[in-house]
């Protein structure tokens, strides 16, 4: 599962010890024939990415500026107004995507932090077992997992009964989060998003928490810092790379996801992903689908850039 990648992504750093090590260990760089080796090695993947990543992005841009219809075909007319149209028309869905993704990311952070902390600091010899347990649920299909949540949150299911019995439902109803039911409310969608991207949050957090020298906490203890101060002055700042990595790995896919919305949300409250899917696959309105995709992409990139800059750890991008 991509979860493993989450961990490896978190390991990446711009200084990249591999490069410097290679430079030191082998003297390949000096030999003329050897100088081309990296390019040969890189060529196949580079070509693949060029043709099937860069080129599609350019096609997406050109498609967004086309006009026409499915029957007559589309032609490039440089119609920029499509962007304005999709933004005004789909603004509610657009805003919803970002709000849902942001809330899910914060929730995932709140849930994953104690989990990652427990694994890194308290698990002892059960550490590897617990790590495996974090990843294990994600080996069943993403869609099946989400359908299971649909089942759990169903109107007559036990979860809702407990909700109602404890009076929690009245509270969330009053807050406007639920409407006498959980399924087909924003709560359900956010819960699904939080759940499905939780390992993406947990593993980067774990890798950065695990690296923290326990001696530092002891030192703070010796200097009469209490546990709370020790956490905020030492553990939290040192775990920031994991926090930034985890939030990005959660937020980006969550903002584009529409499976959770489709399975758990109401048809009246769709997200950008649903709109792009329907524009591209049902209505076959390729220019609008392309424009909306690009708007989503640009919005995410801008938000991520601002966030990474604010967080002060521009290690990941």
């Amino acid at each position: 599962m991509s979860v493993v990648a989450a961990a490896s992504v978190a390991h990446q750093s711009p200084t990249d010890p591999a490069g410097s090590k290679a430079g030191k260990s082998t003297s390949m760089d000096g030999v003329p024939g050897r100088r081309l080796t990296p390019y040969f090695l890189l060529l196949p993947a580079f070509l693949a990415l060029l043709v099937f990543y860069i080129l599609p992005t350019l096609t997406l841009a050109s498609t967004s500026l086309q006009t026409g219809s499915l029957e007559e075909g589309y032609s490039l007319t440089w119609r920029w107004a499509t962007y304005g149209d999709v933004i005004t028309q789909y603004w509610p869905q657009f805003r919803r995507s970002f709000v849902f993704a942001a809330v899910a990311t914060v929730l995932a952070l709140l849930i994953a932090y104690p989990l990652a902390y427990t694994i890194a600091r308290k698990a002892g010899r059960y550490r590897n077992l617990m790590l495996a347990l974090v990843v294990a649920p994600f080996f069943t299909s993403f869609l099946i997992r989400t359908l299971a949540w649909r089942q759990i949150l169903a109107d007559h299911g036990w979860a809702v009964q407990i909700f109602k019995a404890t009076g929690l439902m009245q509270l969330t109803d009053w807050l406007g989060l639920t409407q006498g039911r959980v399924l087909a409310t924003p709560i359900a969608v956010i819960l699904g998003l939080t759940y499905n991207f939780l390992p993406f949050m947990t593993l980067p957090l774990y890798t950065s928490l695990e690296k923290i020298d326990p001696g530092l906490l002891q030192a703070s203890d010796d200097l009469y810092a209490n546990a709370w101060q020790g956490f905020w002055k030492i553990t939290w700042p040192l775990s920031l790379p994991g926090v930034v990595g985890g939030t990005l790995l959660t937020f980006i896919p969550a903002a584009g996801d529409y499976v959770n919305q489709q399975f758990l949300g109401s048809t009246a409250e769709t997200m950008t992903g649903n709109v792009i899917d329907s524009l591209a696959l049902q209505q076959r309105n390729y220019p609008s689908a392309a424009a909306l995709s690009l708007v989503l992409m640009v919005a995410i990139v801008v938000l991520v850039a601002i966030y990474v800059k604010r967080a002060g750890t521009d290690e990941l991008v």
Binding site: A18, K24, Y53, L115, P214, S293
Partner: protein
């Protein structure tokens, strides 16, 4: 992997009054950690439980009674096993292609310093940072514009695309964690470059390549969004589930879901067993 040992006794002698607070804090964190772990398993429990259900209607949503029917006839639902085979086939082919492309590129990036290295790193990072809808719709516009018919080939291409970056990152991480002295030692012992590569470098990197391959297989096998955009009329397993959710949800879907979990757990267990054997 050093375990954390606190010099407990001496601490407590110095400031014994702080122990109760600390005890609560430490166990509070563990408590919430375990709660999170339970949260992770709630839907899995439901998936496994309902694979033994015999629902009355078309949807497997409410518990009726225990039955092994779905387990003994997993392919009774039309299209289910076909979609599973297509997913396995595409997953396998995409994994092979992505692992080869990715491993080569990882060696270039992990072992060489060259001009344009940072550009290459950025190019590899971008697909991982692209939301799936965007990647899916952009590939779709490409295929439509150049007139490639949608089907297994386009799914394969799309899957190789998003797997390659993950393979590169995984193998590169393994290369970065390798001790360069081992290769130097081989060279000192008069191994030539090919021998060093085949006898030292490759065996050391191999676990990284294997985990990269497993990763890309599970990414490919489980992908829905990108596949949905580029599948045409081909139905992969996730797409079957998507369709089933709208028409009828057979118990067999849960059986396959549980089966996937069992197979991976079995593989993990086997890998650990082999790992401990080798150590002995």
């Amino acid at each position: 992997m050093a375990t954390i040992t606190r010099p407990g006794p001496t601490r407590q002698q110095v400031r014994p009054q702080r122990s109760p607070g600390r005890w609560i804090r430490e166990h509070l964190v563990t408590f919430f950690g375990l709660l999170a772990l339970i949260y992770l398993f709630v839907p899995i429990f439901v998936v496994v439980l309902f694979s033994f259900n015999r629902p009355t209607g078309r949807f497997n949503y409410t518990w009726v009674r225990f039955s092994l029917d779905a387990w003994s006839h997993p392919c009774d639902v039309s299209g289910l096993c076909d979609s599973l085979l297509i997913s396995l086939k595409i997953g396998l082919l995409a994994t092979i292609a992505a692992t080869i492309l990715g491993t080569l590129a990882a060696f270039a990036l992990g072992r060489h310093r060259f001009q344009g290295r940072s550009v290459a790193n950025l190019l590899i990072f971008l697909p991982m940072a692209t939301p799936e809808v965007v990647a899916g719709s952009s590939l779709l516009t490409l295929f439509i514009n150049i007139g490639v018919p949608l089907g297994q080939l386009t799914i394969f291409i799309a899957h190789v695309m998003f797997c390659v970056s993950f393979v590169i990152v995984t193998v590169k991480a393994r290369l970065a964690g390798m001790d360069p002295r081992l290769e130097q030692a081989a060279m000192d012992l008069y191994a030539n470059k090919t021998q060093t590569f085949l006898r030292v470098t490759l065996p050391l990197v191999f676990p990284g390549i294997v985990s990269a391959a497993l990763l890309s297989f599970s990414l490919s096998f489980d992908d829905f969004i990108i596949t949905n955009f580029n599948a045409g009329s081909t139905v992969t397993f996730p797409m079957f589930v998507w369709g089933a959710y709208q028409r009828a949800l057979p118990v067999q879907v849960n059986v396959i879901g549980t089966g996937m979990l069992l197979v991976t757990l079995l593989l993990v267990g086997l890998a650990r067993l082999l790992g401990t054997r080798r150590k002995q």
